[in-house]
Subunit: 346 residues, 2 copies
DNA sequence: TTGAAAGCGATACCAT
DNA sequence: ATGGTATCGCTTTCAA
């Protein structure tokens, strides 16, 4: 059933039905009602493909994120959920594209075949060929995260440098002198992931400024890797009394590794980091952390994208967020653990 | 740029370009190469809307799941990830629809406007108006979960009855005599969520068969509710020594509540349940649980849907899964806790 | 092996 | 206030 059928049954022309639906031209109350009655009766809905072809808009947003090589982190998943929800409020549907690279089939389909009106990108790298591509085509996109040169882009990002530094300061204030960073996997660092890079920067500089002894580690995005990483940290320097994690997926393993080594959190070891709030609250003890406001960021990204779609010539806008540290239960004053003596091995 | 432009530049007709692309009609090597050269040069990709309009297929699957009223559970998110990944392997994109009810705008768009070729539904209710609607329209869909009368449907589901029973048996085998069930929120039970209903059934019957004292609780889908729920359980019957949870999101709070009450897991309290495997491994101690194979289920659902799309007349198929209990670290032999004496209050 | 032209189902311009 | 019709970009039948 199509618009022609409706027109025929209502005894009007197709254009009149179209205008009655869109309201882009006045239609007499009489015919409007006649049309509406037929539509209700037949349960007619205009075909999205035909409409998209005719007016050049799909009413769909693309959400681009790397394929779940291993698994998604809670944070990534929170982004997805919030983007979908926000998009629905603007009557946009969301098309998911598991693409890490410019060359991915799904990414090409999204853009080249014009399946979406605009795109939101996650997991940004400092140099990101996907973004280069989008900019070159002047394709409306908004990034969750920012590249090394974000000035021409639309984005909503986190000040990872400041966040990691705030974690270090928090620990230093509590008297910790030997700390460690649990970063994302080395592969992500090499690929240029911005959070891993900027977080590392912030951690390193803040530790230097506060005169702390600091070591940095790369850790796989899963609990077992977190466990192994903690073992390594305590082996390298048993006097370590605190750590900062940028790696949410490893958190469970980090806690377990600490417990296995006989370090009680927060009595004789403090843990903090940059983690989505709701996941910080699932672990025991609850994590004191710079909460990533995933929900807010997803909403802002959609808001920016819709604005950009409505005003194609608008100047780039962005939001740089620096959420405060939420004090919970995983950090406390520094104490030296008995195992921390020289030559000992936890 | 469109197919006409390509045709002009290659000096052939539009139909020849189309056939060169689809391979549905032989094209001489010579012209094929000529066309391909032009296409590469201009970076041409056929417009998805036009193609969908012409041949009636969108190459898009819909994924329907309830809006994140509160937040998504890890399990739901795992489904989303695995469905997207599996769909990509078949060159389908996935359109997300946050719809809990037949009447949701997004759901209507998906079906009525024919934005997708088929749909995958999550969070199935025993009576589900979305499914009734789909069946009535003979719209190709596959459910993750099953209704009370699933025989005519395509689905991949879990035997929640058996899973809950297996948890009870496991606890009974360890000598536990007084146990509790932490179910999903009452709102979900009232709405008819199949996992909550069938799980409750399985738990209740198995407990009766093994002659256990069992209580059942509804619990909000978040950590704080889990904490409160445990307090309630221990208040109602301090002699309780184990619980089964169908509520993944409450798990963190359950652990915390137990710790706060001075019950050590698994020494003097055992916890088990039905939870997605990777989340069972993030908590400490790791949860002994019937692991929901979310990834496998997502893949199977896509596989079934693709099959159904390719063979519109095929008879309904389904997969009923009963994953075994993975023994981890959260259950142990029953001991009576000192606080469990009559009149005491942990 | 190839071309011409009729759809697919909407929108929107040009008439009346 | 309404109708007729060209148009969006592709697929596919019919002819040659």
């Amino acid at each position: 059933m199509n618009i022609g059928e409706i027109a025929r049954r209502a005894g009007v022309s197709r254009s009149t039905v179209s205008y009655a639906l869109s309201g882009k031209r006045p239609v007499s109350d009489d015919t409007r009602q006649k049309i509406q009655r037929v539509i209700d009766e037949l349960g007619y809905r205009p075909n999205a493909s035909a409409r998209a072809l005719a007016n050049g808009r799909t009413s769909t947003l693309g959400l681009v994120f790397p394929p779940a090589g291993t698994h998604y982190t809670g944070m990534q998943l929170d982004f997805i959920g919030s983007v979908v929800e926000a998009a629905a409020a603007y009557d946009y549907d969301v098309l998911l594209s598991p693409s890490g690279a410019d060359s991915d089939r799904s990414f090409q389909r999204l853009l080249g075949e014009r399946r979406v009106d605009g795109a939101i990108l996650m997991e940004i790298r400092l140099q990101d060929d996907r973004i280069d591509h989008l900019v070159a085509e002047n394709f409306p996109a908004v990034c969750i995260g920012r590249t090394a040169q974000p000035d021409g882009d639309w984005w909503v990002g986190l000040d990872h440098t400041a966040l990691a530094a705030a974690c270090v300061d928090h620990l230093a204030d509590l008297g910790h002198r030997r700390i460690a960073l649990v970063n994302r996997p080395e592969r992500m660092l090499r690929a240029g992931y911005e959070s891993a890079h900027r977080g590392l920067d912030g951690f390193t500089k803040a530790a230097a400024e506060r005169g702390l002894t600091a070591r940095t580690y790369n850790c796989g995005d899963d609990a077992p890797s977190g466990h192994v990483c903690v073992e390594q940290i305590l082996r390298d320097d048993p006097a370590t009394t605190a750590l900062v994690t940028l790696n949410e997926a490893a958190l469970g393993g980090i806690y377990r590794g600490l417990a296995a080594a006989g370090r009680h959190v927060p009595r004789d070891f403090s843990v903090t980091g940059v983690v989505a709030g709701r996941w910080a609250e699932t672990v025991t003890p609850q994590l004191t952390a710079a909460d990533v406001p995933a929900e807010q960021m997803g909403h802002l990204a959609v808001e920016l994208l819709v604005e950009r779609l409505d005003h194609p010539e608008a100047a780039p806008r962005h939001h740089l967020l620096t959420p405060p540290i939420s004090l919970r239960a995983s950090t406390g004053p520094a104490h030296t653990h008995p195992d921390a003596g020289p030559g000992s091995n936890a």
